[in-house]
C-alpha cells in the first residue's frame, strides 16, 4: 500500500518540478538572447532567454575563420592543378594554356613575384558537390584558393552552383590556343629543318 502512495507522491513531486521549470522558462521569455558569435568576448554574458534567430532577417553569427564557400583569387593562380588532384570528389575542373614566350610580360606575375606560365581560361568549382573539406586549400602553393565564411549560398537554378573563376573570355582563349598552335607548328618546322640540315651535313661530312 505504501508503494502505491509513494508512487503517487513521487509522481506528483517530479511533475511539479518539471512544470516549475517550464513555467520559469515561460516567464523568462520576455528577454531575447543577443546574436553575438562565439568569437565575441562577452558571448556568455548575454542574458538567458529566447535564443532563436529569425534567419533571413537576422544573420547567423559565423566566425571569421569559418571554412565554407571556396574562392579562388585567380590573379595568384599559377595553374599547377594540385587542387584538382587533391580533391577527393573531383569537383574542381581547370583548363590551362601554355603562355607563349613573348607573352610572358603580358601574363604577369603572382603577388609574391612568381612568373605565371599558364593562362587559365576555365577554372570551375562545382560548389554543390564541394564538401568544404579543405584538402585543396592546403596543397595550393600560392594559397590563392581560400575558404570564405559565407555558408548560405542557395540558388534557384542548379547550374548557378558551378562557379567560374577563369580570367580569359572564350575569344581570348581561342586566340591564345591558335597562337600556341602556330608557335608549335613553327617550332616543329624549325626542328625538321634543323634535322634536315643535320642530315645534310652528316651526308655532306662523309
Amino acid at each position: 500500500m505504501s508503494e502505491y502512495f509513494g508512487n503517487i507522491k513521487t509522481g506528483a513531486v517530479t511533475i511539479a518540478t518539471g512544470l516549475g521549470i517550464t513555467l520559469k522558462h515561460f516567464f523568462n521569455a520576455i528577454h531575447r538572447k543577443g546574436d553575438a558569435g562565439l568569437d565575441d568576448v562577452d558571448y556568455f554574458r548575454q542574458v538567458d532567454g529566447l535564443c532563436t534567430l529569425q534567419y533571413p532577417h537576422e544573420v547567423i553569427p559565423t566566425p571569421k575563420n569559418g571554412r565554407y564557400r571556396l574562392y579562388n583569387n585567380i590573379e595568384d593562380c599559377i595553374g599547377c592543378g594540385q587542387c584538382v588532384r587533391a580533391c577527393p570528389i573531383s569537383c574542381i575542373s581547370m583548363e590551362t594554356i601554355k603562355v607563349a614566350a613573348d607573352d610572358l610580360a603580358v601574363c604577369g606575375k603572382t603577388s609574391d613575384g612568381q612568373q605565371k606560365k599558364f593562362w587559365i581560361p576555365v577554372f570551375d568549382i562545382d560548389v554543390a558537390k564541394c564538401m568544404t573539406c579543405g584538402m585543396c586549400t592546403t596543397v595550393c602553393p600560392t594559397e590563392c584558393l581560400v575558404h570564405t565564411p559565407v555558408s548560405d549560398f542557395s540558388e534557384f537554378d542548379r547550374n548557378n552552383f558551378i562557379y567560374h573563376f577563369g580570367n580569359l573570355s572564350r575569344l581570348e582563349a581561342e586566340a591564345k590556343r591558335r597562337k600556341n598552335a602556330e608557335l608549335q607548328a613553327k617550332a616543329l618546322a624549325e626542328k625538321e629543318k634543323k634535322a634536315a640540315d643535320a642530315l645534310k651535313e652528316s651526308n655532306g661530312g662523309e
Binding site: 508512487n7 513521487t10 509522481g11 513531486v13 517530479t14 511533475i15 518540478t17 518539471g18 521549470i21 517550464t22 558569435g37 562565439l38 568569437d39 568576448v41 558571448y43 556568455f44 535564443c51 553569427p61 559565423t62 566566425p63 575563420n65 569559418g66 571554412r67 565554407y68 587533391a86 577527393p88 564538401m131 568544404t132 573539406c133 579543405g134 584538402m135 592546403t138 575558404h147
Partner: protein
C-alpha cells in the same frame, strides 16, 4: 470431448451434453500482423527498418533491416590516400565527427609510429570531449522525444548549438570538421578559445542539472524506461556491446581508461556505472543515466586539459605531419572511445602505395544494434521505441 476436423469448419472440439445437445467449440483464428516499422519512421533515429511480428500490442519478433544509408566507406578508403580519408570518417558517425577523426588518426599514427606534440594531444582531447557532450545531448534530447517529452529536446539543442559554435570557431566547420589530421591538427585553436571553453563549462553545469530535473527524474520518464530492455553484463559482452551500453549493463569498461590512448592516462576522471539504486542495472534508464553522468565527466576532463595545456608560442600544428604518408607493410587495429562505443579501425597496408589495402571501420552502433533482435522479444511497441532510443544508433555509422 473429441477433436474433429469438420469440412469447412477446420479443427473443432465437439462435446455431447445430452442426446440432442452437442456443443461445438472453435478457436478464433488469430494470426500475427507483420508491422514494418519502416525506414521512414519518426523514432528509428534514421533509416532503419524493423520488421516486427506483432500480436496485438506485443512484438513477438523484430528483425532489423539495414543498408539504407550504405555509402561504401570501405571501398572509398581503398581509392583515396591516407590524409584524404579523414573527411570520410566524419561522415560515418556525423554526430561525433571529432571522435571518429581521432580514432582514425590514432590508428594511422600507430601504424606510422610517429611522435605527436603534447599541445596537439591536449587540443584533440578538448575538442573530442566537447563533441562527446554534443553527441550525448542529441542522444538525451531525441530519447525525450521518443517518449513524448518535446521540451528537453530543445533545451539540449540550445546548448549543443553553443558547442557547435565553439568547434566552428576552432576548426572552421560546424559538424564535419576534417580538423584532426594524421600527425597533428589543421589549425591551432584561436587565442582566447580556451577561456571561452572554460566559460562554457561554467555555463553548462547548471543547465545539465536543469535538464535532469526536467527529464531524467520525471516519474513518467522513469516509469517508461526503468526495467525495460534489460541486458545482463555477460550477454552484453558476448554481443560486443561497448561504451554507454556496456557501462549501462554494469561493466566498468571505458577505452579511455582500460586501453588508454592520447593523454588520457594523465587525466583523472571516473567511469560512471549504474549501481541499481536509481535504475535496474542493464535497463534503458541506466543507459540513459550513464550518458548523463558521462557529460559531467567530460566537463571535468575539459577543465583539466585547459589547466595542463602547454603554451602556444612557436607551436606549429602541422609540424609532425609527414609529407608523404606511405606506411611500411603491416596491419594495425586501434580504437577510441566514441560517444556510442568503441570505434575501431583495422588498416592493412602493403608498404608500396599511399592508399590502404584494406581499411575496415568497426562501428559501435552496428554492433550495439545487433542485439536488437533478442532485446525486442515480447516487448510492447512503445517499449520497442524506448529500447531503440536507449541504444542511441546513428545510421551513418551502422551502414557506413
Amino acid at each position: 470431448m473429441q477433436e474433429l476436423d469438420i469440412a469447412g469448419l477446420g479443427s473443432v472440439r465437439v462435446t455431447r451434453k445430452n442426446d440432442n445437445v452437442v456443443v461445438i467449440e472453435k478457436d478464433l483464428a488469430t494470426e500475427q500482423m507483420v508491422l514494418a516499422m519502416g525506414p521512414q519512421h519518426p523514432s528509428t533515429h534514421g533509416v532503419l527498418k524493423l520488421e516486427c511480428l506483432t500480436d496485438g500490442e506485443v512484438v513477438t519478433e523484430a528483425e532489423p533491416y539495414l543498408g539504407y544509408l550504405h555509402r561504401c566507406f570501405e571501398k572509398c578508403c581503398e581509392n583515396v590516400d591516407y590524409p584524404a580519408i579523414v573527411p570520410y570518417t566524419d561522415r560515418m558517425d556525423y554526430l561525433s565527427g571529432m571522435n571518429s577523426e581521432l580514432a582514425y588518426a590514432l590508428t594511422v599514427e600507430k601504424l606510422l609510429d610517429i611522435e605527436i606534440p603534447r599541445r596537439v594531444e591536449f587540443i584533440r582531447v578538448i575538442v573530442a570531449e566537447l563533441n562527446r557532450i554534443a553527441s550525448h545531448l542529441v542522444a538525451i534530447g531525441t530519447y525525450g522525444i521518443d517518449l513524448g517529452a518535446f521540451t528537453p529536446f530543445l533545451f539540449c539543442f540550445r546548448d549543443r548549438e553553443i558547442i557547435l559554435g565553439l568547434l566552428e570557431w576552432a576548426s572552421g566547420a560546424r559538424m564535419l570538421y576534417n580538423y584532426i589530421w594524421i600527425g597533428g591538427l589543421a589549425y591551432d585553436v584561436p587565442s582566447d578559445f580556451l577561456k571561452r571553453v572554460r566559460e562554457f563549462v561554467a555555463y553548462f553545469r547548471p543547465k545539465a542539472v536543469e535538464l535532469s530535473n526536467l527529464l531524467t527524474e520525471n516519474e513518467i520518464f522513469v516509469k517508461r524506461t526503468r526495467g525495460i530492455g534489460i541486458m545482463p553484463a555477460d550477454v552484453a559482452i558476448n554481443y560486443g556491446w561497448s561504451g554507454p551500453m556496456l557501462r549501462g549493463s554494469g561493466v566498468k569498461w571505458d577505452l579511455r581508461r582500460n586501453d588508454p590512448y592520447s593523454v588520457y592516462p594523465e587525466l583523472d576522471f571516473n567511469v560512471p556505472v549504474p549501481d541499481g539504486k536509481v535504475s535496474d542495472v542493464g535497463d534503458c534508464l541506466s543507459r540513459h543515466l550513464v550518458r548523463a553522468w558521462e557529460m559531467d565527466e567530460s566537463l571535468k576532463i575539459i577543465e583539466q586539459c585547459i589547466d595542463k595545456m602547454p603554451t602556444a608560442e612557436g607551436f606549429n600544428p602541422r609540424s609532425a605531419i609527414p609529407k608523404r604518408i606511405r606506411p611500411k607493410a603491416g596491419e594495425v587495429y586501434a580504437r577510441a572511445e566514441n560517444p556510442r562505443g568503441e570505434l575501431g579501425f583495422y588498416i592493412l597496408s602493403d608498404g608500396k602505395s599511399t592508399k590502404p589495402l584494406r581499411c575496415k571501420a568497426r562501428s559501435s552502433c552496428f554492433v550495439n544494434l545487433s542485439a536488437m533482435k533478442d532485446l525486442s522479444k515480447g516487448q510492447l511497441i512503445p517499449d520497442l521505441v524506448a529500447i531503440i532510443g536507449s541504444i542511441d544508433i546513428v545510421l551513418g555509422e551502422v551502414d557506413r
